[in-house]
Point group: C2
Chain length 502, copies 2
Amino acid sequence: MLDELRSRLLEIDDLVAAGYLLSWDQATYMPNGGARARGRQGATLHRLAHEQLVDPAMGALLDGLQSHADALPPDSDDASLIRVARRDFEKAIKVPSDYVARANALGAASYDAWTRARPANDFPTMRPFLEQTLELSREYAGFFAPYDHIADPLIDDADEGMTTASIRKLFSELRRELVPLVRAISDQPQADDSCLHGAFGEQAQFELGLAVAAKMGYDLERGRLDRTHHPFCTKFSADDVRITTRVYAGDVARALFSTLHEAGHALYEQGVAPVLEGTPLGKGASAGVHESQSRLWENVVGRSRRFWRHFYPMLQSTFPDQLGRVRLETFYRAINKVERSLIRADADEVTYNLHVMLRFDLELDLLEGRLRVADLPEAWRAGMQAALGLAPPDDRDGCLQDVHWYSGGIGGAFQSYTIGNVLSAQLYAAALKAHPQIPSEIESGEFNTLHAWLKDHLYRHGRKYRPDEIIERTAGKFSVHPYLAYLRAKYGEIYRLPPTRQ
Amino acid sequence: MLDELRSRLLEIDDLVAAGYLLSWDQATYMPNGGARARGRQGATLHRLAHEQLVDPAMGALLDGLQSHADALPPDSDDASLIRVARRDFEKAIKVPSDYVARANALGAASYDAWTRARPANDFPTMRPFLEQTLELSREYAGFFAPYDHIADPLIDDADEGMTTASIRKLFSELRRELVPLVRAISDQPQADDSCLHGAFGEQAQFELGLAVAAKMGYDLERGRLDRTHHPFCTKFSADDVRITTRVYAGDVARALFSTLHEAGHALYEQGVAPVLEGTPLGKGASAGVHESQSRLWENVVGRSRRFWRHFYPMLQSTFPDQLGRVRLETFYRAINKVERSLIRADADEVTYNLHVMLRFDLELDLLEGRLRVADLPEAWRAGMQAALGLAPPDDRDGCLQDVHWYSGGIGGAFQSYTIGNVLSAQLYAAALKAHPQIPSEIESGEFNTLHAWLKDHLYRHGRKYRPDEIIERTAGKFSVHPYLAYLRAKYGEIYRLPPTRQ
């Protein structure tokens, strides 16, 4: 019976993986003409996977296996498989197939419209899409009633175990520290990041990022890097985890850190134990835990001084005309410049979370019905003014900037970024506690100890443990303190801030 | 009910298209590690598509639509759709699902083994695979008993309406002319093709082939060219038809003609009427008719003197050091050099069909049980000696050279190449009869008239007509004479042969 379950789950996994390949291809090599049919093909695979998952035979199998699962140690692979498969099944059967079809169709149409509306700064075109998306998100939440807050089911999908209440508490703790930190930094002389801007060969940038990712442990026999507009990491199997990046000739930092960010996601997926492959356990624990790995490798490691003590000479020799005479310290401050800005995706480590909080608050307002879609642009401007002291001149760099709301759902997407930031520091601190030599290894361009520790404590377990469980096993109870300590220490030093009272 | 049929067929088409993308990716960009899961994923999609096709509900729908079809003009889109869907259904239900699974599994394992066994010249490893494949092919034919010859069902799959008897007749007509033609050519002074060999930049070769294909009419908004080991054309939708090529720095002709060959296939698929998309009518009429288009564009057009009168200066300016001082006539003779050789895929237009006939005869012997797999290497050498007067020194360049037998089936694959050769000349002659200005247009690098005629008479109809019907509508009854006349005229001139008696 367990074999039958595995075989059904594998079939679903195959359909999902094929769907991911359709998306990867669309984002990398597909000719323009292919878009129309591709949307339909992706929807078909998605629908078939959903139909297989909600098949009553699946429910009967899971019922039949329950006593077997109960007799096993709860953290055995088999008990975990049955438990997680049941959780996915219970969620999926609450969502009618016609809803899935409607949501897919709207998501595709809305995304397509957004790709044109954003550059055209055309919020009015997106307004009806967004109104329908909001209704669909509310309808989706309704399938999981009762709940404490309408956003709870949406948050739980991305970050199992988190709720509106727990995120609000987290955000309020963070805000209390981040707002004064941003203010203190902005009172100091600004870092000069002009060394990052100029003319940098795109192919050289691409190859450099890939070489650094490979040094971190990204296995190119089981992965590859391609160019795209919106970088992402995608997994077709345990042995085929791909990343994408975008390259700007005028900015040497963006492609590099985008590549390291996606490589962090890929290290996680490449590190899942092979035995979990093709099952619902064979991927990262949650969106937030996943983001912790992209942030750990991009920021905690990739924007550290020790990291660049090793890699800066390589970067300089790649771009001798542009960087040959720029000091390491100048470069280090440039890549860690803190600045209030309009675009979340380009924001620095310190202000980034304020962007996330604005979106989270607006999502709650929309879902609760306190904010109308028509009033979103103005609410965005007001929120940016309050959070960061500047407002976008248009919607393109305002409420149209992120794809999330325009490709399928409102609620539950943004909090993962901040959870990831917080966890990145907590996990790194735990790794350091176990292996104090990690920083000096990084300074030699070695990442084996850190990578092996993460793989052993986090990656290999996939989705076997709940996010809070795996974090607690690995790094103790979820806490903002390591993250705040990390930011205070790093940016206190860079911006020469006076020591803060604890 | 017709809508229900269309919707079911569209779902099958989506699964098949996703499977094609899995294969394309495997042949182009997939990292090595991805192979294991990819095989399984492709098999899953293939199996699901087969299950959908043989669903009893499909049979009931087709039954229910029969009276509707009978009331329509037979060549209306709807009547054709119902007719062809029924034909596919009737064939598919004869094949048990467990057979499909066994054949897929064996095909994948055999192909995988062959990729190593061929370079290692290791026939003994492939022998058990080939024995099982032969058994499976015989078993497959058995599903369609009674038949006149065991190869008939296999041939009909690729070239509907053709039989062992009709192919034998065709081959005997061809052989009667080709053997003396090859002999007469080999009595003449050989062409010098040294100008094709040297050091030619790979990227420049790649781009040149693509530019020429685009000039022929290959629409790059709906297609693209990538590099691979074994070139092919694949279709994900009417608006996404891709080709691949391989490039050799040491040979300027191979990538170019491989690209034009695949572009011929792609012109056909890009030309199918949009209204047929996503149905069983939305692709080429048969393997042989498809091959006629790759051969027409690669050989009849692409290896003609008029074609190169236009394109040779472009080639020379791409490779001025290598070709700047080589005369057009020298180049023309080099790309049309006739030579008895070991490898089918590299054979010239005249000897090519002799390679095909050898394989066809061996397939019949194997299927009829007159030849044991163990004796195949020796039978191959004897056959090559008889047909071409030379025998391979090893199995690598003998019976291991083609992928076909080692990736799923024996019987029914090779005849299409020769049918394509024959049809390429017949169709071109018909186009010329309608539009005598085509050769002079080609000489100006213009292909619109030829392309439009082919699109209107052949491409747009997809699979609406049977192969023999569409050929008869377009170019009269299937005949070898235009092809033989084409070869005699072209090679008689190149090799200065005495005129033959008709």
